[in-house]
């Protein structure tokens, strides 16, 4: 009946409409392996989180989907197109359907908030200035910062900058928005605001969202499905309810924030006693 190799979530939800698919993707920077045979499916219209500790290859997954990196082995499909096989023009055409929120916003520091959001509209469309203005104000209103349109990025707080970057990411009404650590370094109020915005924009605009994060608590409130990545491999996956109920040692350590467990506290080293007395 169902394809046994497909993740349980896809078969269970009977969701044939797939936005992004990674199949057996292996990637290494020079000789440093980052991803070792990762497969994941991201259905259209859902919010999917990719979780894992720092440096586990989460951001690399986003760069592979965005075509900034090419996998050594495996397939990266976005909207039915194989990303690594696209030429420059095709890749740029695909990227126009993407929005991406970078870790610290990556707003253009020489432009005002307004100009930042108008940037993509002006680069990719010939819309008259009045319509650009209306669209920019609508996007800013959606993130609650219409009043900040004339500010420069240096005048924004971290949370505001993240919301402006979010407005910029949805400027061209993308089909897919990727969030790289959207919660990093935010105060609790901003954290809640950004989390809710991700969910609401996803549902209101009918987009697909991929959230790369290590913030379990915030993600569990807003996402449909989670993948746990450790040392370049997916070691657990499931819905928010699955994750809360999970007995898996890694997931438990991650969710409960235990300092030691499958992810050890200590970086690999020679025995403590041997090292301390080595010079004696």
């Amino acid at each position: 009946m169902s394809d046994p190799s497909a993740p349980a979530y896809v078969t269970a939800a009977a969701q044939p409409d797939i936005a992004v698919e990674l199949a057996d993707v292996t990637f290494a920077y020079d000789r440093r392996p980052v991803l070792a045979g990762i497969s994941m499916v991201i259905p259209r219209g859902k919010v999917v989180a990719i979780m894992g500790g720092s440096g586990c290859g989460k951001t690399t997954i986003l760069r592979l989907i965005g075509g900034q990196l090419k996998p050594q082995v495996g397939r990266v499909m976005v909207a039915g197109q194989s990303v690594p096989d696209l030429d420059r023009d095709e890749l740029y055409a695909l990227r126009r359907k993407f929005g991406m929120l970078f870790q610290f916003g990556a707003l253009f520091t020489d432009m005002s908030v307004y100009e930042n959001i108008a940037f993509a509209l002006r680069e990719h469309t010939d819309l008259p200035e009045e319509i650009v203005r209306d669209l920019v104000l609508m996007k800013l209103h959606a993130v609650g910062l219409r009043g900040a349109a004339r500010l420069m990025p240096s005048e924004l707080s971290g949370g505001m900058a993240r919301r402006v970057a979010l407005a910029r990411a949805i400027a061209l009404d993308p089909m897919l928005v990727m969030y790289d650590e959207p919660f990093a370094g935010l105060d609790p109020i901003s954290l809640g605001v950004v989390g809710q915005l991700i969910r609401q924009l996803n549902d209101a605009l009918g987009i697909t969202s991929i959230v790369v994060t290590h913030d379990v608590y915030e993600s569990l409130k807003i996402v449909d499905y989670l993948y746990f990545v450790s040392e370049g491999a997916i070691i657990a996956q499931g819905t928010a309810a699955d994750v809360r109920a999970s007995g898996d040692a890694f997931v438990r350590q991650f969710v409960d924030g235990e300092p030691d467990g499958p992810v050890p506290f200590h970086y690999p080293a020679s025995p403590y006693r041997a090292e301390l007395f080595a010079r004696a």
Partner: protein, 269 residues
């Protein structure tokens, strides 16, 4: 003992070899980068306001340092030149000495060195920081090529600004020499300007000076945008890229100046 020496020698050779390979590789990368930037030129000029904005940042904002330096270089040149020339009773040739020195050499070279440290370093730091803060990545992900949007306008802004700055440097230098030579020391005004007019050839001196400054402008702008684009995306990476821009630009200007002078003025004697 002998073994250690052999190992040391082998290590040294290995380092030399890998350094040479890295340098050639980097030069090749810079050349490809240059071709890519030139290929994006139509895109940069299609939106002229982007390039004009960079002409303002590289050119107009460098005016103060260029004009003040030009004035002082001209004044010092007049003082020193007069001191030597008057020993031979040739003090009325001061205008020739000053104008030829400035138009042929000092204008393009000193303006180029100042341009490298004022505008080149700023371009490298700006592009490097845009890279470090993922602004270039963000642009790429928005399907906007940073080479066309960020690099090409800055490159052409520098190429356009530099000859204009060098010309203004020389002009202010000549004016400074006039102030010192004619107004302060008392050389005859007519002799100062008349000798200058007779001795300075438009094609031979002025055009060659402009060609020099255009070549220096191209070299400095290319080094500045390349170092910025190639900078390691960290605070340390951007700072060392900025330093490299100033050092490489200065050396490039002096080396290119020698080569250009050999070809331009070899029939001079």
């Amino acid at each position: 003992m002998l073994d250690a020496a052999a190992t040391g020698l082998a290590d040294g050779l290995r380092r030399l070899g890998s350094g040479a390979i890295a340098a050639v590789g980097r030069l090749g990368y810079a050349t490809r980068f240059f071709v890519a930037v030139v290929r994006e030129t139509p895109a940069a000029f299609a939106r002229l306001h982007l390039t004009l904005r960079e002409v303002y940042f590289s050119g107009v904002l460098s005016l103060v340092i260029i004009l003040v330096s030009g004035l002082f270089v001209g004044m010092v040149l007049a003082l020193q030149g007069y001191d030597v020339l008057q020993r031979y009773g040739a003090d009325e040739s001061l205008g020739i000495l000053v104008s030829l020195s400035l138009v042929r050499e000092l204008g393009p070279v000193v303006a180029g060195l100042l341009f490298a440290s004022r505008a080149g370093s700023a371009i490298t730091a700006e592009i490097g920081l845009m890279k470090a803060t993922e602004q270039l990545s963000a642009m790429e992900m928005m399907a906007v090529d940073p080479l066309a949007r960020v690099v090409a306008p800055r490159f052409w802004g520098g190429v356009i600004s530099m000859p204009l700055l060098a010309a203004l440097f020389s002009t202010l230098g000549v004016f400074g020499a006039y102030l010192v030579g004619v107004r302060l020391i008392g050389i005859d005004t007519g002799a100062f300007w008349g000798n200058m007019q007779a001795a300075v050839d438009f094609r031979y001196d002025i055009v060659n000076g402009i060609i020099k400054s255009a070549v220096f402008g191209t070299a400095v702008s290319l080094i500045a945008v390349f170092e910025g684009f190639d900078a390691k995306p960290t605070a340390e990476g951007v700072s060392s890229a900025t330093t490299r821009t100033v050092v490489e630009s200065s050396l490039a200007i002096l080396a290119l100046d020698f080569v250009l002078t050999v070809f331009m003025f070899r029939g001079i004697s």
